[in-house]
């Protein structure tokens, strides 16, 4: 596994069933919108010795009509939505900033937790993505610095802190610690704003 340029990581790993499912799902997504994978699956793709029940994905906001097209495409490709079949209702969830989950039909896990990127911090995750090149296709993931900061300073569970440490130890020469710090500050500012609003 190595950076072939600042924005691209080449991963020559043997592909597992989760990778295949992720590729199948994102090939559909990218026909309709821009996506970025964040959180646990990123650490797993980069070698972390754990598995996951859900793959977190931000997508750029769609109109209701275009979301309907995406939903139909997913359905025709063998996926179902765990939150229901009422597309208008699912769209409302997304607009409210909630996630909807898709899995292979008649399965519950693993699933794809899909959210519209609506908050500023979420929208910014599209600005510094990395492309992971695997044997079966490209996967767009958020930057390593962003991953580390979100897992260490926002999510903060033992699992998330371990994911952050894995990425840091693996790519120590490639990580820009100033950017991690900038993300940390952005997360703290966002949290302060949320506290003020409550």
């Amino acid at each position: 596994m190595k950076f072939i340029d600042k924005k691209t990581i080449q991963i020559d790993k043997d592909i597992n069933e989760l990778d295949r499912l992720v590729i199948k799902f994102i090939r559909i997504l990218e026909k309709h919108t821009i996506y970025v994978i964040v959180s646990g699956y990123v650490a797993i793709l980069l070698g972390r010795s754990r598995t996951t029940e859900d793959v977190d994905i931000f997508i750029q906001e769609l109109s209701k009509e275009n979301f309907r097209k995406l939903y139909t495409d997913l359905q025709n490709s063998g996926f179902w939505c765990l939150n229901g079949e009422n597309v208008a209702e699912l769209y409302e969830y997304l607009i409210e900033g909630l996630a909807v989950r898709f899995a292979l039909e008649n399965q519950t896990i693993p699933n794809f937790e899909v959210k519209f990127a609506r908050k500023l911090l979420d929208k910014e995750s599209f600005n510094d993505t990395l492309t992971a090149i695997t044997k079966i296709g490209k996967i767009r993931i958020s930057s390593l610095e962003r991953q580390i900061a979100f897992k260490r300073y926002f999510l903060k569970s033992d699992k998330d802190i371990e994911d952050a440490s894995h990425i840091e130890k693996l790519f120590k020469k490639n990580i820009d610690n100033r950017r991690v710090y900038e993300y940390k500050k952005m997360i703290e500012n966002e949290a302060a704003k949320t506290r003020k609003r409550q």
Binding site: G47, E162, L170
Partner: protein, 65 residues
């Protein structure tokens, strides 16, 4: 490669393993570490197919229902 250091408690033990494994991934070809990782992941994928957990039950567990 550094040996795996035992931890004083579960948390330290886990963190030592994270460090050990990241070092392993960094110093071994992708094919080598991924074959080991895939045993874990493919086994989870196989179990998931047989899981009887319904979407309703799952969303309840996640606090989303």
């Amino acid at each position: 490669m550094k040996r795996l250091k035992p931890g004083k408690d579960n948390k330290e033990e886990r963190m030592n393993f994270v460090e050990y494994w990241a070092n392993y991934v960094r110093t071994h070809p992708d094919k080598v570490w991924s074959r080991q990782q895939n045993i874990l992941i493919n086994s989870m994928m196989k179990n998931a197919k047989n899981s009887k957990l319904t979407p309703k039950e799952y969303l309840k567990i996640k606090g989303e229902l």
